[in-house]
């Protein structure tokens, strides 16, 4: 049983998830252009 590998996997998953959430949440939000446009119905 490789506990270091298991710990490393969990660490990698946590770090990658944290970075992705912080970076992609604003990007995904801008995608439907609700924030950058005055036209609020431009999500389609």
């Amino acid at each position: 049983m490789d506990w270091i590998a298991l710990f490393l996997s969990l660490k990698l998953a946590l770090v990658a998830t944290a970075i992705l959430m912080i970076v992609t949440a604003p990007l995904a939000c801008l995608w439907p252009c609700r924030l950058r446009s005055s036209d609020f119905t431009c999500s389609s």
């Binding site: 049983m1 490789d2 270091i4 590998a5 298991l6 490393l8 996997s9 969990l10 990698l12 998953a13 946590l14 770090v15 990658a16 998830t17 970075i19 992705l20 959430m21 992609t24 949440a25 604003p26 990007l27 995904a28 939000c29 995608w31 439907p32 609700r34 924030l35 950058r36 609020f40 119905t41 999500s43």
Partner: protein, 168 residues
Amino acid sequence: MPPTVVGFYLLIVMDPEGWLGGLWKGATGSPILFTFAGIVIASITYSIPFALQPMRAAFEKIDPRLIESARILGLSPPAIFLRVILPNSRNGIAASAILVFLHTLGAFGVILMVGGSVPGQTRVVSVAIYEAVETLQYGSAAMMSLALLPICYIFLLVVHRLTKRSPS
């Protein structure tokens, strides 16, 4: 794209002669390949679609009138994002985070291509299971697989509950 293909392209880009590898080496003085930072970047690159899709779906389901009201009340775009959009799409964001977490936990091809199998650095559990099977250590492989099962099951259960409860 197949994980090994993504891994191969990342290997080229993250090579000390590649643009990202060169940039990293210039900044830190050490190569990025076969390091923990390298597999973090590879995992992020490979998991982007898994993060974006549920989040986008959650954001698109928000009533535009809420955003319009917030804007009329004078909130700036960052404030609208933090105080209106994020609270109204927390289930979608949580589901997205758990999917990325599980996807990264099970990543194999990309990690092996970019990180190899350096013990304590890049040898994650999926690579360790593969190596245990390769060396006929089925007991060790079974133990590691068994350790992953409850983790994945619990997180999937949470995703299921979050997506089921989502009001939008």
